[in-house]
Symmetry: C2
Subunit: 640 residues, 2 copies
Amino acid sequence: MAKKERNLYLTNVPLKEAIDHYIDSVKSVFAGFSVEMVLVSESHNRKTSRPVFAEISAPHYNAAAMDGIAINAEDSYGASETNPIHLKKAKHYQVINTGAPLKSEYNAVVMIEDVVEVDHKTVEIRQAASPWQHVRPVGEDIVKGELILPENHIIRPQDIGALLSGGVGEVEVFSQMSVGIIPTGSEITELKNPLPEGKIIESNSKMFRALLHTYGVVGKTYAIVKDDPEIIRQSIRSAVVENDMVVVNAGSSAGTKDYTVDVLREMGTVYTHGVAIKPGKPVILAEVEGKPVVGIPGYPVSAYVVFDQIIRPLVYAFRDEASTKVETLKATLVRRIVSSLKHEEFIRVKLGKVDDRWIVTPLNRGAGVTMSLVRADGILRIPQATEGYEKGTEVEVELSRPLEALSNTLVSIGSHDLVMDLLANELHKFKCNLTLSSSHVGSMGGIISMKQKECHLAPIHLLDENTGEYNESYTKKYFAGEKMCLIKLVKRSQGLMVQPGNPKRLTTLTDLSREEIMMVNRQKGAGTRILLDHLLQKTGIKPETIEGYQREMTTHMAVAAAIKTGTADCGMGVESAAKAMELDFIPIAWEDYDLLLRKELMETEEIQKLLEVIRHNSFKQQIEALGGYDCSETGVVKNI
Amino acid sequence: MAKKERNLYLTNVPLKEAIDHYIDSVKSVFAGFSVEMVLVSESHNRKTSRPVFAEISAPHYNAAAMDGIAINAEDSYGASETNPIHLKKAKHYQVINTGAPLKSEYNAVVMIEDVVEVDHKTVEIRQAASPWQHVRPVGEDIVKGELILPENHIIRPQDIGALLSGGVGEVEVFSQMSVGIIPTGSEITELKNPLPEGKIIESNSKMFRALLHTYGVVGKTYAIVKDDPEIIRQSIRSAVVENDMVVVNAGSSAGTKDYTVDVLREMGTVYTHGVAIKPGKPVILAEVEGKPVVGIPGYPVSAYVVFDQIIRPLVYAFRDEASTKVETLKATLVRRIVSSLKHEEFIRVKLGKVDDRWIVTPLNRGAGVTMSLVRADGILRIPQATEGYEKGTEVEVELSRPLEALSNTLVSIGSHDLVMDLLANELHKFKCNLTLSSSHVGSMGGIISMKQKECHLAPIHLLDENTGEYNESYTKKYFAGEKMCLIKLVKRSQGLMVQPGNPKRLTTLTDLSREEIMMVNRQKGAGTRILLDHLLQKTGIKPETIEGYQREMTTHMAVAAAIKTGTADCGMGVESAAKAMELDFIPIAWEDYDLLLRKELMETEEIQKLLEVIRHNSFKQQIEALGGYDCSETGVVKNI
């Protein structure tokens, strides 16, 4: 097959304009939903397609409303305290329980408390009954023929009760909307072990199906289609017949292997190819045989953003329902955010309430960083034609977590260590309704954030080169005159991570200057980088002489991964990361990794809970199991 | 079997005290949830039972981040505009697409835009590449071994994407909580046609299952059990083994056929029998073999209130989750509500926003009136030891509908006619995002509500006895000096509804005074009652001489139902009700049934939409199909 030319350019239509135009275009040809009969017992959350009327009355007979005797009221006329009337069983009355049917010869019930038993066949009453007293008449609740539910009503639990009480066993509802999902791409594969190089696990269709589930829609996933226009065409044809809407993921851009748009142009109408949003620009809005077909880009973050921004409003528009409102929060930006004038940008952010102020911290903006969606507390939209926001701007964030959960979050900004992941998990495990949210910007970044009151906790490991002491002198220097605390967390073993079996025979830091050795480094401001620089200076090695010194990673695990995959021979990091990635490790120094915080927070409930978890044996045992840690001081608090 | 004695009295423990004590008691013996492995693709909304770590890195190979050529950066050193370097295919470079794996001999990507093709085997570059430029390194998104999700985390769509990208195909989650539901009662039956007299349709278990669904719990319904302690015992025994919690409905009171509490005392521990709430007092909180077993009363409204007030907090407590907050609204009471000091009361109410003020109107308080749950916009709690609230009090209502839907509601208070049901349905059908909420208090009740600005619309049919004219003179009298409008709705035929075939040979109203004739009446203030009284006066018949004149029903359909079931021979009402209930009808008068409203509302969007629907042919056609209506003036507006 001849390679197709890159002969198409994406348009740059604003999101809202693109969606509004698309809904207008597609709605007019959209076939509408079919209807089906479902059992009332299975009708929860379905929508009525016609009014529902009661088929029988409830109650459908005159029923006693009290325990007592059923009588004909006329037989009691004239009864009084001074003139009690005697009634004979069977002839004048019948014993009746609440809810039991009243025989047609009776028209009133006398409460058991007002009946005096004379003998087992005679009772005495001392008050006249009025007709229909203590009788639940037919239809008291629901009258046959009465409207129980109108058309277009979403059925709730109490509606199910009323429908059944009104004798309705089946109800006509709109068929559930069905959205077909076609994953495309020769490089994608279902999850398998081992995963061949060059293959990517197909995850978007499963994420889409769950998103559809939150919109109340059924997602139908088709088999993965390789990059072949004929096969893509066949798959779209089937999906269009079998569903109300179709999503093609990906191949929606204009590259040499992006066939989706051409196929859709042949099969129907393409309304838009390219929307002015970031991430997610290469979007296709098309129509095939009266059904909307949407092409969505492949990078997971783009896929998520585009799906929620485009498929959600489409689904609600087709159902003629108002889209549920997204909860928002006003918060302050702690850093400047630069955005392109050309696009509306969707930036994943973390939120935290520090000192009664909501703080926004942007996460990694890469379209491929799935974990940024997992970590995000919300999405910050930056409109098109805006250059971004200055530090200190108050912005509105669309929340991805309930506000209540965010309010109970301890914000940690600083150095990264696996121990922080463990700590976050322990807090979740103990269900103490407290979440730990960590951003990794290195120890110095943590000090700066703490100074600016953007976090509750700053995990740091900063060596005083003069005294060899950790963290205290840095705290004194940067927080002179302020009352601070250090919660001792762990002592950890720093050293060189090397290939398994140490094939290059590294023994000390001086080996870094050997010509055939390629290292990988941590970013500036990271405690590990500061430690390395200090040690290099002491040994007199010039950084310029080290191959790979400029290559920076932001976590220990990323350094370990670079070595593991052979792109570097070594890197400085903690023993636990080497162990986790099955690397060899050459220990060089023990350092103190502690949590810095303001003293005024120490007595808060949140920090007390945190301390309880830190001091718990199960936490310490898990840390020591990682290897390379010493918990002898874990949980000790130092005032500074 | 010997009848058991009524030897038990219910206690009157406050709701919160009863629940708190119960949760404390049962939680300590509760076995906790089991865990299970589920496919990640099926894990949406499930809760992790342990932390989940990445099994592979994403990407798991070094990948090109751009379309271009893969090279070894060293081969490009020294390249510049003045010193271009030539590279040979295969020897020095390989063409690479975004996302493709980088071979181990290469360590950088040069963008296609920076590559000049010399011939098909040679390219020229004019800038040195730095190692790892435009390369997405292994683990850029997720590093093998990294924590993807902590324990006790409810899985969201984006988490599914990240788990799969991290090579996790299955995840350990807590098993879903299962609640067994046992319907009991010799009088209850599955829905069948015809329904035998004395039998009641079992609807609560289906309502419970839907309620459990909203709490994220699976409900398992057992077969209906008759009132026999041995069978009840067997059923509870099975359900306790197969579920985490069991609900027994009903037989929870202390009557002669209420065996549930005795059975539970034998099988385990009964913590509470009788809670100080209304409706719903006869509640049993028990424990059998470490599982909570709750007895719930049978009346549908009691069942609903007790289930939501007791089972919901139990479910959330057992899952260690904070119960979702119920949305509330502050609103003004338009009538005095009297409540018992002994109980906390849960009153179903309608809400409406009239004149920028939220208005609360209580619905029927009967525990058997299922439709009050369907019609309710919210629940008003009146605390124990409170006598109720005075008119004008601001109260807090727990909402049963979203606030947004309530804001778009036209409140109608006044006379009842089937046409109002049709109108409500038409508004729903045309999806104009407008709801009609009707309360039936008779024409005079409507006039009073309108006077007090409690409604937008008052449907009335009030005859001026002097002129024979309808509605206008009443409006002038009660709204002197105010600008009002009447939207003409229908002319309708009023008359006597009688048994099919008219066996008692009624012809005119004078027949009502015949001794063997039993009538059924409408409530005071109803337009139909006013019409009847006027006609009786004209013909000189004294109400005291009419059998059944005192028996009052609040709707036409209730009057029709009383006649249909033989408890009365006749009653005054509209032809459409007679027709709906298959009764014979003796026409007596035509009357105007119109909508009264304030003139200032006429130009609002809501009333304009209403008028559009009223004037639509499909509405008129439906009305005329009912019989007994004349639509010649429907939709005409009169200023008064």
